[in-house]
Symmetry: C2
Subunit: 125 residues, 2 copies
DNA sequence: CAACAACCTGGACTGCACTCCAGGTCAACC
DNA sequence: GGTTGACCTGGAGTGCAGTCCAGGTTGTTG
């Protein structure tokens, strides 16, 4: 339903993903059916922008390009792939929860180490 | 105070860090003064093992080798570097907190996407 | 003492996820 | 109509963090 058309530069600005990376994602099959102007230049839709934000979210939490490609390929293949797609997401969900746990442990360790340093505050110059 | 001496294989087993990576960390200055047997073979102490676990914890939460080297170098330089070491840790602490926050957002996004899939459970075969 | 495993060194290689480049096209403005 | 800037393509290059390898030494075991 979105009519907005974003140029590559606008898309990069909006999503925080570089133009090169946007092209890379497209090449790798993570982003398909990107519209083109008569000139051949890409025109991204709002939906493309939302999807790229999802991609970034999953990438930033450790999903690999390979896994994302698999997920996208399944989506293109039809409804019958839903179970596997759901499984990919639930697996990744578990990974993210493990990462959170791991990071809580890291916070405790950092705090422990910090407690060994002298307690007087110091203004940084 | 630790008298235990661990061979490279035992150290790898204990810390979950490969022998090659242990040597790599040593080369990069993240692990110094590793003892040697008369044969020239490394003998790691319990303290080395604890420190490697700290290294892994920081690495796994995104601290780079470069930053870890900096931290180690400072430690070797004396007490007057404490403020900077404390700063490195507090900076990294903030990063880890941001990562936790980011991951909570990711969980919400994953759950949102999962909610679009049919709600009936499916036994995996 | 032969052979085998574990270790040593310096240096080359790998995989991942980008990132950059050359050479060319398109649109707009002067 | 020439130049400027955004964009195009295919392919090469980068940086990080390991990981692997060749060629050699040590030390244990039959």
């Amino acid at each position: 339903m979105s009519t907005t058309e974003l140029t590559p530069a606008e898309m990069a600005e909006r999503t925080g993903v570089s133009i090169d990376t946007l092209r890379y994602y497209e090449r790798e099959g993570l982003l398909s059916n990107v519209a083109r102007a008569d000139s051949g230049h890409r025109r991204y839709s709002d939906d493309d922008a939302l999807w790229v934000e999802v991609l970034r979210c999953l990438r930033d939490t450790g999903m690999t390009i390979e896994q994302l490609r698999r997920y996208c390929d399944l989506g293109a293949q039809g409804d019958y792939t839903e179970p596997e797609r759901r499984r990919i997401l639930t697996d990744h969900r578990a990974l993210v929860e493990a990462q959170i746990e791991e990071r809580h442990i890291a916070l405790a360790l950092i705090d422990h180490k910090l407690s060994f340093y002298s307690n007087d505050e110091e203004e940084s110059g």
